[in-house]
Symmetry: C2
């Protein structure tokens, strides 16, 4: 929805036209660059005069920068080339708080990773305050690394394995043992707190898939199991932002008790602790499966079957055509996919004429933290006018 | 999305402003009427001159009509009152093809039912051609009834219990035994074919609930079980329009065989044939449950439990706050709701602080056919410019 043009019904005004057209010009240059002002005018249908005014604003606001002349297109002398400002423009800071690691990542306006840090360690014994303080330290190091490269952090997004309220309160993160933890101000600057599977799904969406076309279920295997639902290129958050609790969908209503209080939840069949023998790692399990170890293959097959039953239910309900296996499921995909595909083939009503594709996450286990940083960058692309107002020297 | 203003990026043009403002004026009068031109200008922020031009177009296009002076508001003489044209304006024709009945319904622009017909009869032995011919006869009677009242049918929407392609092909309706049935031209005029649970959910959305705010799962119990998913006031169709196959979500992966080829589908536990003793009706079951018959209560309790496990999974996944029981579940809601609510309370991760409301459908078993007719009416409200073009005397 274009800001200022609401279906509920305000008339279209001049300011929203400018916002729309700023976004349009930025999107055009993001699509391929360098381009000249004339190229942008030709591609967007805007007049050259309008494009020039908009580009001037985007250059002075450090969203675009000018480079040596663009390749000649058509008659006349070649214009100055325009590219996304990855030199001294805005950057997105992504953080991930998970049960057994913390991570930070900085992306520039063009989506390139400019800094990354992962800090392993089981956090289940630590207080929320202690974990947030450690995350704040990672964030501070990332901010300094960005500034050293000339970038300005436009905002921070934090991925957490749980349910988050719009005000930044982590309502429930069962596997961290957190309930009603206020994460709204633990690090300075604009801050967004969001479910890790949602951010991982966004990360995956913008990693190599053409924006706007993809519809998929991103399944995030960690200690818990989360899901991010992407439809027609947009994340589907649910009515209150609490969608995707795939780990607590019942595989067998009379199955084993779950930490959440219910019985037979998927997490009990395919979560990290059900899948890995005590003390072992994902790498160990993959290595044993590669060597044909029967016990390892049995564990993977049982988890795949439970995942497949649940995922088939999701596809019957939501009609997505792709399943992306993320988190610990990404490296285990060679052994999990066949069992999941078998359940889909036998249980999804439309599977006969409309195949469902199961694949590992392209970003592997980095998807959530890269997705978090990417969410900040995309917000700048979607509302460039907001960033311009913020950086305008005339604004108090 | 406003037609002509696409996020993919065309500039905003004058024509889309007019379309937007026509819709705005129509929506304002739909909100409360009669209103004068001055009232509409005050409420929308448009100038009186602009409103007058738009209203003239809407009156000559038979979307609005003028009535005796509106109640005086403010200074000056009262203006002519404007109301939605329910006298000789467009009407929506809804049809429903179901396993054991056919139905037709006409709604006027103000959403009032102007004609309704239901034709009971088991259709499982009949060929698709025969069923479509019978539906076409119902449609023709409905059209004549509308024309007798001065109305013009703007389009027809048909609700079917199955998966429909965008081209109007019914890909699969398992309980009718239909596969790849072309329903695109069986009755004259613009025709939309759509899943019955989706149309029922739309019908329910616009029956008494404030548009744009509701998020709910509509569960349609018939021979099969379908679902319509409404989020923030919009129907959620899935990537290919085949969402909502709730009846084929597994309750127990090792449960009884289903007509679809899989095992343990919800339909086997809570579909009409599992719920009702052979030869009996929903009325019989409700009567026996009312009188405390233990066997009837056991049947209802078992179905409620299976429905509850599946619905809890949907809420974990999609985060809706309301479940609407439609079709045969509407009259059985007093006995089904407690069992469904118990499963939600124990299985939905957010249930503790975010209650989920289970209620019967307000339109009862008419929801699909009323929703079908309503879909046509809403299309006129959302794109009044399209209707004006169609009815303009100057258009070839």
């Amino acid at each position: 929805m274009i800001s200022g043009i609401s279906a509920a019904g305000t008339p279209v005004r001049q300011a929203s036209l400018r916002q729309h057209n700023l976004r349009l010009v930025l999107a055009q240059i993001a699509l391929s660059s360098p381009q000249s002002r004339a190229d942008v005018a030709a591609a967007t249908g805007l007049t050259r005069a309008t494009v020039s005014t908009l580009v001037d604003d985007l250059v002075s606001g450090r969203l675009l920068r000018e480079v040596s002349p663009a390749p000649r297109s058509g008659a006349g002398r070649p214009g100055v080339g325009l590219v996304l400002n990855d030199a001294d423009g805005p950057a997105g800071l992504g953080l991930e708080i998970n049960v057994d690691y913390l991570a930070a990542c900085v992306l520039d306006l063009a989506g390139a990773v400019r800094h990354r840090e992962i800090q392993p360690g089981d956090r289940r014994g630590d207080s929320p305050a202690r974990v947030l303080a450690a995350a704040a330290t990672l964030a501070e190091r990332a901010r300094l690394a960005a500034e050293d490269q000339g970038l300005t952090i436009a905002g921070t997004a934090v991925a957490v394995p749980g349910l988050v309220s719009p005000d930044g309160t982590i309502r429930l993160a069962p596997n961290l043992g957190w309930r009603d933890v206020d994460a709204s101000g633990f690090t300075p600057g604009p801050l967004t707190v969001e479910n890790e599977a949602n951010l991982a799904a966004i990360g995956e969406l913008h990693h190599g898939s053409p924006a706007g076309s993809a519809s998929f279920l991103y399944v995030s295997g960690e200690i818990g199991i989360g899901a991010g639902i992407v439809l027609h290129g947009s994340l589907f958050r649910g009515a209150r932002g609490w969608s995707g609790e795939l780990g607590h969908v019942a595989v067998d209503p009379d199955g084993p008790a779950c930490r959440c209080g219910a019985h037979g939840c998927l997490e009990q069949y395919a979560g990290q602790e059900a899948l890995l023998p005590p003390g072992s790692t994902v790498g160990d399990l993959a290595a044993r499966a590669s060597s044909g170890d029967a016990a390892a293959l049995d564990r993977l097959s049982a988890a795949a079957s439970a995942l497949g039953v649940t995922i088939a239910g999701v596809i019957n309900l939501l009609d997505v055509d792709t399943v992306v296996l993320g988190g610990i499921y990404a490296p285990l995909a060679p052994w999990l996919s066949p069992g999941i595909e078998a359940q889909i083939a036998s249980r999804v009503l439309t599977a006969g004429w409309s195949p469902v594709h199961v694949r590992p996450a392209g970003l592997g286990s980095d998807a959530a933290v890269v997705g978090a940083a990417g969410a900040i960058i995309r917000a700048v692309h979607e509302e460039p006018a907001a960033w311009l107002v913020e950086t305008s020297p005339g604004t108090p």
